[in-house]
């Protein structure tokens, strides 16, 4: 049986941990509010962008001359998985659930005989993927020093991807991130961005023939890279909100667990203390009786 001092120390250490988890939970809650507003504010732009692009895609007939970013390279041999994760841990299953989705996809693609390349945004994803896919990771973008995510950050990543695509490094690009639903629900999502996949929306567009100003090619040449940057930007913002949400609930759990542990240990401590007092009393009484 542990001594009283040992028990006291153990309780003190759990209490200290609880203070930390509690503080982390409160910080995450404060950050969550901001991240959530940012993510929700960015949704309309990304959605409208998809819609506009979907309308254009419907109105043009694919030809060998149409931009590759829209129609794809015609093959699907090499897949690039763009994995967006957090820079920090201690946020529950947030990173692992994204990574799990990536691994499933990578394995099923490999089984079909396709080549898989991985580009990580965020250190945590790279840490988890490195063990299994060391050679397939072509690059890692770190956003450690980025305080508030701006469109320019996403634009940089977008440029990188477009440059790789134009060099013929891959045929299909899929974006992995976690969609923010609520504090307790984040959905790991895979979204194909090159070539873009459009949801079937039949009520709009209705095959209208657009007039283009300037030329169609010129507009598409600008719109397509911008769409990629926009989708990445949205993914990063959704991720930021999801991360804080996941951290908040993880830390809430941790705080509650620590509380349980303290309660249990305090009971043990009290029992031990009483047992010792009883034992001492018995010793004194039996000593007195012996006289």
């Amino acid at each position: 049986m542990p001594s009283l001092k040992e028990l006291r120390n153990r309780i003190a250490s759990v209490k200290a941990t609880q203070k930390i988890t509690k503080a982390m939970q409160m910080v995450a809650a404060a950050k969550l509010r901001r991240a959530q507003t940012a993510a929700e504010a960015a949704r309309p732009y990304a959605e409208r962008m998809e819609k506009v692009l979907g309308n254009i895609a419907m109105s043009i007939t694919p030809s060998p001359e149409s931009p590759k970013l829209l129609t794809g390279s015609g093959k699907s041999d090499v897949h690039l998985l763009l994995v967006c994760t957090a820079e920090r841990g201690l946020c529950g299953a947030f990173n692992s659930s994204i990574v799990r989705l990536v691994k499933e996809r990578a394995n099923s693609l490999a089984a079909e005989g396709k080549t898989v390349k991985i580009l990580c945004v965020g250190r945590k994803g790279q840490d988890q993927l490195r063990r299994q896919y060391e050679r397939q990771i072509i690059e890692t973008v770190e956003l450690r020093n980025v305080r508030t995510l701006s469109y320019a950050d996403a634009d940089k990543i977008g440029d990188k991807i477009v440059a790789l695509f134009e060099k013929g490094e891959f045929d299909v690009c899929t974006l992995f991130y976690s969609k923010f639903r609520s504090v307790i629900l984040q959905i790991p999502t895979a979204q194909q961005i090159i070539p873009p996949v459009f949801p079937d929306n039949k009520e709009i567009g209705n095959g209208a023939v657009y007039e283009y100003e300037p030329e169609e090619e010129e507009i598409l040449a600008e719109l397509l890279p911008r769409n990629i940057a926009t989708q990445i930007f949205r993914a990063l913002l959704e991720n930021a909100a999801s991360e804080q949400g996941a951290r908040m609930s993880a830390m809430d759990n941790a705080t509650r667990n620590a509380g349980d542990m303290i309660r249990k240990q305090t009971i043990t401590y009290n029992r031990t203390r009483q047992a010792m007092i009883t034992k001492e009393l018995i010793e004194i009484i039996s000593g007195a009786e012996a006289l």
Binding site: Y45, A46, P214, I219, L223, F233
Partner: protein, 137 residues
């Protein structure tokens, strides 16, 4: 006067959404006005002032880098940067002009150079327009 749905979105937020009578858009190849029932059109934007007219009032916003799409369901403008003229910091345009001038000096001959020069002109024009309204107040 007939109205039509109009939406102006930037990556940071949905700037405007509602029924309007007329919108003047700074298109890449010249300004154009959109009324209800405009023919389907997709146009790139140049940096400039977008004017929204509704119920006799007019709202002016500075927009940069983006697209306007007109179809049967209304007008959608996607701008990388959009802010009401009143909230615009006058130094902002100046900074953009300087950045564009740097790009102009760095740009190689040909198409890129023309583009950069065009952009400097467009931004300067915006500055003049803004200067005129600020003086009028």
């Amino acid at each position: 006067m007939a109205t039509f749905p109009f939406e102006l979105a930037s990556p940071a937020r949905l700037v405007f959404s509602g029924e309007v009578e007329q919108v003047d858009v700074p298109g890449a190849e010249g300004d154009f006005g959109v009324h209800a029932g405009h023919a389907p059109l997709i146009s790139a934007l140049r940096p400039g002032i977008l004017t929204i007219r509704e119920g006799g009032g007019a709202k002016r916003l500075y927009v940069r880098d983006g697209f306007a799409e007109v179809n049967a369901s209304g007008l959608t403008v996607l701008a990388e940067f959009a802010t009401p003229v009143e909230e615009l910091d006058s130094g902002e345009i100046q900074k953009e002009i300087e950045a564009a001038e740097v790009r102009l000096t760095e740009a190689k001959e040909g198409h890129a150079k023309d583009k950069a020069a065009e952009r400097v002109d467009q931004l300067k024009q915006v500055r003049t327009q803004l200067g005129a309204t600020q003086a009028a107040h």
